[in-house]
């Protein structure tokens, strides 16, 4: 490509990126180190990138606290359920658009896209959830966010890439739309299915705004996803939001416990992410392709 290789330029760029890598990694390493350090080192602020006075007491504490373990288990269950439900809905929503002869296709498209640009807002949504009886109900974490229009468009643009001739030959063989979807489109779309499942899974694993909004009473604390628990624990440390204050979280946790919670909430993503990176990247790249 570039025929004028300037060694100095290359060197500077590499140095620049090494610095950036440090900026990205050091904060995370710091948190990991702190979660495994002894309290006296923590208080003196001696822990930087590697643990001092290595111990796993904080993890032990978290592990023995049913509040954390249950929340973790619930978040795993929730993430699985949400991903499955979302994927079914997304495929169902994207597939009919493949048929160019579908009447109302354009109207449906506008109907969907409109919601990307104009949302009703927090209060109207809250009122709806209340009138549906979903406030303080675990389903509120699943149903409202079940379908992401952006992901539908992603899936759709991938489907568009599958040649119509394959579909038409299947139709000649007597396959109906549903059979075409199951036998041809889904097997051919494995990469995009993986990508979008990951988007949904990560979105659910990391999301806590809906839980914060819709799980109001102390009774519904048991449905708190791990991220909301983490949020609440931190808020207790800084005690910002008086309305969120409640005694159900027990004693104020120590710093090491918070660090351990952060680590636990991060690890699943750290585990899957490097192996699935290409799918994520493919998803974003696909999203940038305009219809």
């Amino acid at each position: 490509m570039n025929l004028n290789k300037s060694k100095l330029g290359d060197f500077l760029i590499v140095v620049c990126f090494i610095l950036l890598i440090c900026v990205c990694l050091f904060p995370m390493m710091n948190v990991f180190a702190r979660s495994m350090s002894a309290p006296e080192h923590l208080i003196r602020g001696e822990v930087s990138l590697l643990p001092k006075g290595f111990n796993l007491d904080a993890f032990q504490l978290v592990w023995n606290d049913t509040k954390y373990t249950w929340s973790l288990a619930w978040t795993v269950i929730l993430t699985v359920i949400c991903t499955v439900v979302s994927m079914v809905l997304t495929v169902l929503c994207a597939f009919p658009f493949v048929y160019k002869g579908l009447k109302g296709r354009k109207t449906l498209n506008v109907f969907m896209i409109f919601t990307m640009y104009f949302g009703a807002g927090m209060i109207p949504t809250f009122l709806l959830m209340r009138s549906l009886g979903l406030v303080d109900h675990p389903l509120v974490l699943i149903l409202p966010s079940a379908l992401s229009i952006f992901n539908v468009i992603l899936m759709r643009s991938f489907f568009y890439g599958i040649p119509d001739s394959i579909r038409e030959s299947a139709e000649i063989d007597g396959a109906g739309p549903f059979k075409t979807l199951m036998m041809i489109y889904l097997p051919l779309s494995k990469p995009v299915l993986a990508t979008i499942s990951l988007f949904y899974a990560v979105g659910r694993w990391n999301g806590y705004g809906d839980a914060l909004l819709f799980l109001r009473t102390p009774d519904s604390r048991k449905w708190d996803p791990i991220q909301l628990l983490l949020y609440r624990v931190q808020q207790r440390m800084t005690s910002i939001d008086v309305s969120q204050f409640d005694s159900s979280t027990g004693d104020a946790p120590t710093e090491a416990v918070i660090m351990a919670t952060i680590v636990i909430a991060t690890v699943p993503i750290l585990l899957v992410y490097p192996f699935l990176q290409k799918y994520f990247v493919a998803g974003v790249t696909l999203g940038s392709v305009k219809e």
């Binding site: 009122l127 983490l230 992410y273």
Partner: protein
């Protein structure tokens, strides 16, 4: 497919006499509409006869009774200002009857004189217009009076009427045969769409009716439609919001944070993508990308936790610098920390889309320029940047559309009591007042203001981009 009412389709061969010709003279959708309207009339008539005027379930009198009682309670006067005659039972009924009679008149005209193109067109649009206006009329009364037509029996004729209007203007089939063929082939697709569409309707369009809460009084527990209208023609709470110092601060904070975010954060992924593209060590490049993308996958709660740890007065950064800067406790510092943390989380991820765009640039351009003696910076400036310009513009439009909104999760995780005067953006205001507090109407008004301004900004930016010759968003 065409909206041309002058097309003649004679396909009902077995139908006798003049009526056959008349029906055949119209596209199927007109006939379907006529059938729908007749159905509604029969339905209403049956209700009228069976239940007697003034009893519930009656399409006409139900609305009227509710209207009268509510207006007498003096809660809705502004709706009917200067329209006293309108309240009258007879005038209400007569308006509706006139509309119906007119539409039937057009129907009759069209059947008798169906051979005249002009009359047929006139009757087509007249008939459609008449039922359209009557439907809008009924819906407007339902909405303004606050009766949701909660009875199924009331809803049925309304739905038929509405479907008739839609059919009239949008039904895309001219003959029943085409319609049947189409349905045979495509019905499965509509079945597949039921669940996702239900989700969209319930959870995305469903809340929109509650936007009315912005124009109604606070009544924390009652449904929005049952609430009485707010003062000042319903704009009471918008006025209150703009007179509220806290809201003005929230508005200011929103603008300041978003503006800084765009100015400081927007160029970062572009620069990084260009630098990444210049990186020639393949393995190093891949590792770098993996690590740079990583923060994107941490939730805001985690990022806030990391930030508190690293940026604390005795945190990693202060230890490294040997200082005790209050990154998160000082107002000005907090603003910049907020922006920088956002950049930290998003910079790597943001490069993907630009890298994809750079890959799409024709390599011959680089070679040709290099032959002409262009150095690295000139290549970037004259080839790479223009090559990714459409993507840059697209993302810029999107971020301008997002000026009015900050991520709720982000701001909730990052704010703290020491900096609330610069951190409490509109989302926080809405949340604290409307969800945690009891001022729903005020919060809804603020939220509506926010949504509307966002849409205007987005389309404004898009319009501007298109005016200046860019591809734009839509």
């Amino acid at each position: 497919m065409s909206d041309n009412p002058n097309q003649v389709h004679l396909n009902n061969e077995n139908f006798p006499g003049k009526l056959k010709t008349a029906i055949g003279a119209f596209p199927m959708r007109v006939n379907a509409t006529i059938a729908g309207t007749i159905l509604v009339l029969v339905f209403s008539l049956l209700e009228w006869v069976n239940l007697g005027g003034g009893v519930r379930f009656n399409l006409f009198t139900l609305q009227l009774l509710d209207m009268r009682s509510k207006v007498e309670a003096a809660q809705l006067e502004w709706v009917f200002d200067g329209m006293e005659g309108f309240m009258n039972f007879r005038s209400f009924l007569s308006i509706f009857l006139i509309i119906l009679v007119v539409s039937i008149l057009f129907l009759v005209i069209s059947i008798i004189w169906h051979k005249s193109k002009f009359l047929r067109a006139l009757s087509y649009w007249g008939f459609g217009g008449a039922i359209l206006s009557s439907t809008v009329f009924i819906f407007s009364i339902l909405i303004t009076v606050g009766d949701r037509g909660s009875d199924v029996l009331t809803a049925i004729p309304l739905c038929i009427l509405f479907a008739s209007v839609i059919t009239m203007f949008f039904f895309p089939f001219d003959t029943p045969a085409k319609f049947v063929n189409y349905i045979k082939r495509y019905w499965v697709l509509y079945i597949l769409l039921i669940l996702p569409l239900a989700q969209i309707i319930v959870f995305r369009y469903g809340p929109m009716i509650n936007i009315l809460a912005a124009f109604k009084d606070n009544a924390f527990l009652s449904p929005v439609l049952d609430r009485s209208w707010a003062g000042n023609d319903g704009f009471e709470f918008f006025i209150e919001a703009f007179n509220d110092l806290e809201f003005r601060e929230a508005f200011r904070n929103t603008l300041v944070l978003s503006f800084l975010e765009i100015v400081m954060g927007f160029p970062v992924p572009i620069i990084l993508a260009i630098l990444l593209n210049e990186l020639r060590l393949r393995k190093f490049k891949r590792v770098t990308q993996t690590i740079l993308y990583l923060p994107h996958f941490l939730s805001w709660a985690i990022v806030a936790g990391i930030a508190t740890t690293v940026l604390g007065t005795s945190g990693l950064l202060n230890n490294f610098l040997g200082t005790e800067i209050r990154f998160l406790q000082d107002q000005t510092n907090w603003v910049f920390s907020y922006i920088v943390i956002g950049i930290w989380k998003g910079m790597g991820w943001g490069t993907i889309i630009y890298l994809a765009a750079i890959t799409g640039i024709n390599p011959e351009l680089y070679e040709a320029a290099a032959v002409d003696g262009a150095k690295r910076f000139r290549l970037i400036w004259h080839i790479t940047l223009p090559g990714i310009r459409p993507v840059i513009i697209l993302l810029l439009i999107l971020s301008i559309g997002g000026i009015m909104g900050n991520s709720f999760e982000r701001i909730m995780a990052m704010r703290n009591p020491l900096v609330h005067r610069v951190s409490d953006v509109i989302e926080v205001y809405t949340y604290v007042r409307g969800v945690a507090g009891m001022q729903q109407a005020l919060a809804a008004a603020v939220g509506l203001f926010q949504s509307v301004v966002s849409v205007i900004l987005l389309f404004g930016a898009n319009y501007f981009a298109k005016k200046t010759g860019e591809r734009g968003l839509l």
